[in-house]
């Protein structure tokens, strides 16, 4: 009946899956990670590597007053209070602990300066030195190799096998699977002596499934995610009785570039420089239309309304914060101009209104007035007047699925029928729902995935073997 047997079977090799594996492997001898793609790391490894932590060492150094309560309040505000507070609180409370864990246990290196992302009350975002999630995934992979927890690539989950009582006993997979051909590979059944952990991420690339949840997300809307971000494992979890939560809450990223595919290098340019230190204008009017530091949902809604064509403009001073600038220029994602006139011509923007917009924005900063769009004006914000000028053409792309399956504080998957945990089934990361509510704040996903991944790993490993 079974081809193989392990103590713990983990599906997915992103932040959540690897964090679960590291904790589980410390407690039991045989842990396996199954990954359907041909390379490990999933969407995590192409993410921006931004990590929000409340009460972190860098905040202490920079005298920034922050607390888990404040972070939780920010999460609830962005999430429109759709958040499951108990879970959101865990993320806020353990964010700094998780950050320190990546440094001490994995040796992850971060830049020595915090970033201030839209929707956060204070700067609390760490950034990996290579501006990429790979800066965390790679050390995790190295650690797991040393711990002897194998990652089996090209292994697709095709079924969760349950016993008579509805508990999960093991998985059916396709080995040597070639994405996205569902017929490829050969079927194998793997038994889990202790538990199965689902860490399969979101479904931003699953055009069919996301349109079922939100018909506005048509096929022609691109995604920042890697190709493997599809819904099949979420559907299997639902089939096994898991509770669906807020599946239609799907976030678009407002910072992605029109001139490259996916997340690319432009997204980090906008997030780190374009929005906080520059302005966002509508090309047709040459005017600003939103608080650039608003949370993602507000930005996207503003950008999508009345067919705006948005670009972000930043000057030589602001561009210092953009760690991906060289790659952006090299790939033509960001363009550089000596004057605002040149920039206007190249983008076919009306010159006079644009100049006027920049002038009034500058005087706002210089005089210390409040912005009527509500953009916070911190003391280190400078007027846009130092050439050369840089701009990026923006388009919203599907980025994150806030919805998913319901878990409790122990990361156990909750059955829809009786509100009780499904025996021996755990989940963590983007496949779970409810933590971020209506909108996830930037840089909150990595702490969430690591924290709940570790919780799932520890609790799964303490199940009695059978």
């Amino acid at each position: 009946m079974w081809n193989e047997e392990y103590d713990i079977v983990i599906i997915g090799s992103g932040f959540a899956g690897l964090a679960a594996a590291i904790e589980a492997r410390k407690l039991c001898s045989s842990v396996v990670i199954l990954e359907k793609m041909a390379v490990p790391g999933g969407n995590s490894t192409i993410s921006g590597g931004l990590f929000a932590a409340a009460g972190s060492p860098l905040q202490a150094k920079e005298n920034i007053d922050d607390s888990p309560e404040l972070m939780l309040a920010d999460m609830l505000a962005a999430g429109n209070n759709y958040n499951y507070r108990e879970l959101a609180r865990i993320v806020a409370e353990r964010s700094t602990e998780a950050l320190l864990w990546t440094m001490s246990e994995l040796g992850v290196k971060y830049k020595p300066k915090l970033s201030h992302l839209g929707g956060h009350s204070v700067p609390r975002t760490y950034n990996t030195v290579n501006t990429s999630g790979a800066g965390i995934i790679r050390p995790m992979l190295v650690h797991l190799r040393e711990m002897e927890a194998p990652i089996r690539l090209k292994s697709l989950l095709t079924d969760l096998i349950t016993d008579e009582a509805g508990g999960v006993e093991g998985v059916e997979i396709r080995e040597d699977y070639i994405f996205p051909n569902r017929e490829s590979g050969s079927v194998k059944r793997i038994r889990a002596r202790q538990a199965v952990i689902l860490a399969t991420g979101g479904f931003s690339q699953d055009k069919e499934f996301r349109a079922i949840q939100n018909p506005m997300l048509t096929e022609d809307i691109e995604s920042t995610n890697h190709k493997g971000a599809t819904a099949e494992s979420l559907i299997l979890a639902l089939k096994a009785g898991a509770t669906p939560v807020q599946l239609s809450m799907i976030q678009l990223g407002p910072w992605a570039s029109r001139d490259e595919e996916g997340f690319g290098v432009g997204s980090m340019f906008s997030m780190l420089a374009g929005f906080p230190y520059g302005i966002l204008i509508d090309l047709r009017t040459g005017k600003r239309f939103v608080n650039e530091q608003a949370d993602r949902k507000l930005l996207v809604d503003a950008m999508l309304s009345s067919d705006r064509e948005s670009i972000a403009i930043v000057d030589e001073m602001g561009v210092q914060h953009a760690s991906t600038l060289n790659q952006c220029l090299k790939r033509g994602v960001v363009r550089k101009f000596d004057t605002i006139d040149d920039l206007a011509i190249a983008n076919q923007a009306p010159l006079l209104p644009l100049k006027h917009t920049i002038d009034s924005y500058n005087s706002l900063i210089e005089s210390g007035q409040d912005d009527h769009f509500g953009k916070p004006i911190p003391s280190d914000l400078l007027p846009i007047k130092h050439p050369p000028y840089y701009c990026i053409r923006l388009i919203s792309k599907v980025h994150h699925c806030m919805g998913g399956i319901r878990i409790n504080a122990r990361a156990q998957v909750i059955r829809i029928e009786d509100n009780q945990p499904i025996s021996r089934l755990y989940a963590a990361g983007e496949i779970t729902g409810g933590i971020h509510g209506a909108s996830r704040l930037g840089s909150n996903a990595i702490p969430e995935c690591l924290i709940f991944g570790r919780i799932a790993g520890i609790n799964a490993a303490s199940e009695a073997p059978r």
């Binding site: 390379v39 990429s132 790679r138 190799r145 890697h226 090299k330 006139d341 206007a344 076919q348």
Partner: protein, 432 residues
């Protein structure tokens, strides 16, 4: 209004200037196409270019005029300001196997060349912006018309598709992506600009992470330095192999062979690296080497065995020969001279000895039996029959002492002297 007209006149004269310097613009265009990687852009005929370029200028002039006339506020109908020669040549392009992208690239490059000229020209800034916006508009409308026409026209007959370079480009792209070896394209900063699926799998990284990565980070430091030096020293068209130790995403190392080639595009240098993971091959090599050694060891053992078998055989032959010489031949002689009564015994003994010899029996051939004299054989027979010495004395009419002497001699000849073996018992096992 008058000012606009004056400016308008100026623009027109600038357009005339552009018409004059067509040759320069053509050269600039050709260079840009080359830089874009279209080394041999089809449709590059100078005459055709002039015709199309003139079409562009007239469309632009028309567009500018119209705006002036309609300045009263009614929105201009620039839709008709098309670069007609370009739109007309859609079929021409298709027949020459261009794909839409290449065709549009031809056109866009033309626009960009003109725009560059325009920026350099001595026109008041406002007019300049205005003209450039008009140029863009003309470009947009023409592009739309080209795309529309491209899609409505029946595709060129399939018999020509084999020769169609556009299909070929696509095919090459597909081959690049799906080939079973890792291919990396590296620029002058040694950063990866293109990479295929297999290379991603070899290094365990996603394409997005690979692109922009310095190729150094994919291998052990010393090896990376060797590779970079090696790349820097290559001349165009050269191809070389180099063996390096590469790094998988989780820090595991693996041996690989990299085939490098340099190719120059425009002024820029690129290198293609074809990476082959040698792990399987190296494992096989080690295994083969191991097996070979094992076989060699076995061979040696076999040789020794064969040698010893050969030795044994020789020993055996020698022994047989000496037995025949020392035991059987004298026996034969004796038979020759023996009396009939004992001859039988001698024959029986001989027969037994021969059987023993041919059977290769372990039992030592007892040559002693054949050495016995006639009297001794008689004595033996009697002993075998169970007679005591006294019985023999009586039967053979010889003295007891003589019998004892015979017995002694017999024991000697049979090699029993000094042994505890009873003569009767020994003889029971032998035929006499």
């Amino acid at each position: 209004m008058r000012k606009i007209c004056e400016n308008g006149m100026k623009i027109m004269s600038v357009l005339d200037q552009f018409r004059e310097s067509k040759e320069k613009i053509f050269k600039d265009w050709l260079r840009q196409m080359r830089d874009a990687g279209y080394d041999n852009p089809r449709m590059t005929g100078r005459k055709d270019f002039r015709r199309r370029f003139d079409g562009l200028l007239s469309a632009l002039a028309l567009c500018l005029q119209k705006t002036e006339q309609d300045n009263s506020g009614k929105h201009d109908d620039a839709g008709v300001c098309l670069v007609q020669p370009m739109v007309d040549d859609v079929r021409f392009g298709q027949e020459r196997g261009m794909d839409l992208k290449l065709f549009l690239c031809y056109f866009k490059t033309m626009i960009s060349c003109l725009e560059k000229k325009m920026v350099q020209a001595a026109i008041p800034p406002l007019e300049q912006t205005n003209t450039i916006i008009k140029l863009r508009r003309v470009a947009d409308f023409t592009e739309m018309a080209i795309v529309a026409r491209w899609q409505t026209l029946e595709p060129v007959a399939s018999s020509q598709e084999i020769l169609n370079p556009a299909t070929l480009d696509k095919l090459l792209g597909t081959i690049f992506m799906s080939v079973g070896e890792g291919i990396l394209l590296v620029d002058e900063d040694f950063e990866i600009v293109r990479v295929n699926q297999h290379a991603c799998e070899i290094f365990g990284m996603q394409m997005q992470n690979m692109i922009g990565t310095n190729v150094r980070s994919l291998m052990e430091e010393d090896h990376a330095s060797i590779l970079i030096r090696h790349l820097a020293n290559m001349i165009e068209g050269q191809r070389r192999n180099i063996e390096v130790i590469c790094l998988y995403v989780d820090g595991k190392t693996f041996p690989a062979t990299v085939t490098t080639a340099r190719s120059d595009m425009g002024k820029k240098r690129y290198w293609s690296l074809i990476v082959r993971d040698d792990t399987a091959q190296k494992t096989m090599e080690t295994q083969l080497r191991h097996e070979k050694r094992q076989i060699e060891d076995m061979n040696l053992a076999l040789k020794i065995v064969m040698k010893s078998i050969e030795q044994d055989r020789k020993d055996f032959e020698n022994r047989v020969a000496s037995k025949i010489k020392t035991s059987l031949l004298p026996g034969l002689k004796k038979i020759d001279t023996a009396e009939a009564s004992v001859r039988k015994s001698y024959l029986a003994i001989l027969e037994q000895q021969l059987v023993a010899l041919t059977a290769g029996s372990e039992k030592e051939l007892n040559a002693g039996l054949l050495k016995l004299t006639k009297t001794e054989i008689e004595v033996c027979r009697m002993i075998q029959a169970g007679c005591s010495s006294k019985d023999i004395c009586n039967a053979m009419k010889i003295s007891y002492n003589t019998i004892q002497t015979h017995r002694k001699n017999i024991r000697k000849k049979l090699g029993l002297a000094g042994k505890r073996l009873n003569l009767h018992a020994f003889l029971m096992n032998h035929v006499l």
